[in-house]
Amino acid sequence: MSAKKIVEPVVKGEFTYKDLPIAAMIPVPATSLEYKTGTWRTRQPRIDYGKCIKCLLCWTFCPDAAIKRLEDDSVQVDYDYCKGCGVCETVCPVKAISMEEV
């Protein structure tokens, strides 16, 4: 079963009690990924890769795992989920991240 099959009927309002899992349990992990919290933000981070030293502090501190850690330990903002809190900007030791108006 996929996350979409759990989420879509509810979002569309097209289901009966029989279609829902028993007792409001969710049998699929991380269905929250279907909800893009990126729509919340009014500012967003921009990473200056010229300055980035791959310390991974921004990845460590993001409350939403909206900074992805890539295979080579470089980082990339996941704009689908970034809420624009700006914590990453404050923890970057080399000021490689700047929050900009959306």
């Binding site: 009966t16 007792a23 409001a24 349990m25």
Partner: protein
């Protein structure tokens, strides 16, 4: 210790329940002691301490935690048991609803006792009645043998894939919990055949991670509760096959209720719990003098066996519903109100009255049972009762 089938023993109600729980091969027991359930948990802790039962015995620090431990354990896939009474059940109330709404199978033995205030440790059904709306299956024992048998039946019904609901086995405080009566147990072998290890569809499992106990907003909450309604109603339909299977191994056949001479009775008295036995004896005596009385003791109270009761009672001329509990400010005792609703919506204008009795453990003697039966016959003759509700024996 393997028990031979059909070897009768003398045993206390509480001990009989503990024996049934042991033979049901439970995995986790979590409880908090409260009179008069204490013997159940003490015996179970002895079985575990002596290695006779391979289970975790946890004495919780309160009943609320006891039931919470059971819910957690059941979600992890365990067969669980708990027991309580009165104040303890009231303290568990929040989690009673959680257990049924989270569709967690388990069995709870309730030693029906009155609720504070005033503080009273004796027999009454006032503790379980507030839980009747919860979605639990509620079974009532009229004697020690039933308390024992219904425990197995409760586990089987509770864990049935079409049901998946917690179930209570209710036994009267002291009258059943502490009375020694004859018991014919089933063998350990038959018990394990009747109750193989619990099969779960969903449980806490890292390899199949699931989220249990979510919040549901107005857009889905009602559908989840509709699932609960359907499940409770399915329990009524699944019950006959469960009791049939139990009849095959034990030779004892259970039904939605016990009835004694009710088929052709003009006046029927309905009751829950051990008073059924008293009424049976009284009824036999009255029948000898030609009075056509009958008695019904409900085994299954939730789900309420409407169809089967209507079938049995439709030709009666008068009903007396006895309640060992009351709904203060309501139209009477809980069983009475249920019966009235049942009669009305099935188009039956049978005169019915409510006798509220035995609150706080006040004795209800054989001569009083006779008097109530005579009152019922009187109502059948007159075609009506003069009062809706009377509180039997109260000094008013």
């Amino acid at each position: 210790m393997a028990r031979q089938a059909q070897e009768r023993i003398a045993i206390m109600g509480d001990e009989a329940v503990a024996l049934a729980v042991k033979q049901s091969n439970v995995d986790v027991i979590a409880a908090y002691p409260i009179t008069p359930q204490t013997i159940i948990v003490e015996r179970l802790s002895e079985y575990v301490a002596n290695g006779e039962l391979d289970a975790a015995f946890i004495q919780a620090e309160s009943e609320h935690s006891a039931l919470s431990i059971c819910v957690g354990a059941a979600l992890a896939g365990a067969r669980v048991f708990t027991s309580t009474a009165s104040q303890g059940l009231a303290l568990m109330h929040e989690i009673v609803y959680a257990a049924s709404s989270m569709r967690v199978p388990m069995v709870m033995a309730i030693a029906n006792r009155s609720l504070n205030a005033p503080l009273n440790i004796h027999c009454e059904h006032g503790d379980v009645m507030p839980e009747r709306d919860s979605g639990w299956i509620h079974l009532f024992a009229t004697n020690v043998q039933e308390a024992y048998d219904l425990t197995f039946i409760a586990f089987k019904l509770s864990e049935h894939p079409d049901v998946q609901l917690p179930a209570s086995v209710n036994l009267d405080a002291f009258i059943l919990t502490h009375s020694v009566e004859p018991l014919t147990p089933i063998s350990d072998e038959d018990a394990s055949k009747f109750l193989p290890p619990r099969n779960t569809i969903y449980s806490v499992d890292f390899d199949r991670p699931a989220t249990f106990g979510t919040m549901a907003l107005p857009d889905t909450y009602m559908e989840f509760k509709y699932q609960l309604k359907e499940a409770v109603e399915r329990a009524e339909r699944v019950y006959p096959q469960v009791v049939e299977e139990y009849a095959r191994i034990s030779g004892r056949r259970y039904w939605y209720f016990n009835s004694h001479m009710a088929d052709d009775a003009e006046a029927v008295v309905l009751v829950l719990g051990s008073t059924y036995g008293t009424l049976k004896v009284a009824a036999r005596r009255l029948r000898e003098s030609g009075l056509k009385v009958g008695v019904v003791g409900l085994t299954m109270f939730r789900p309420f066996p409407e169809k089967q009761l209507i079938e049995l009672l439709k030709n009666a001329k008068a009903l007396v519903v006895m309640d060992r509990a009351y709904s203060y400010g309501g139209l009477g005792g809980p069983l009475y109100m249920e019966v009235l609703a049942m009669l009305y919506r099935n188009g039956l204008r049978i005169p019915a009255m409510n006798v509220v009795y035995g609150l706080g453990g006040r004795d209800f003697r054989l001569d009083e049972a006779e008097a109530v039966l005579r009152m019922a016959i009187d109502g059948a003759k007159k075609g009506r009762f003069d009062e809706h509700v009377i509180w039997w024996g109260v000094r008013a």
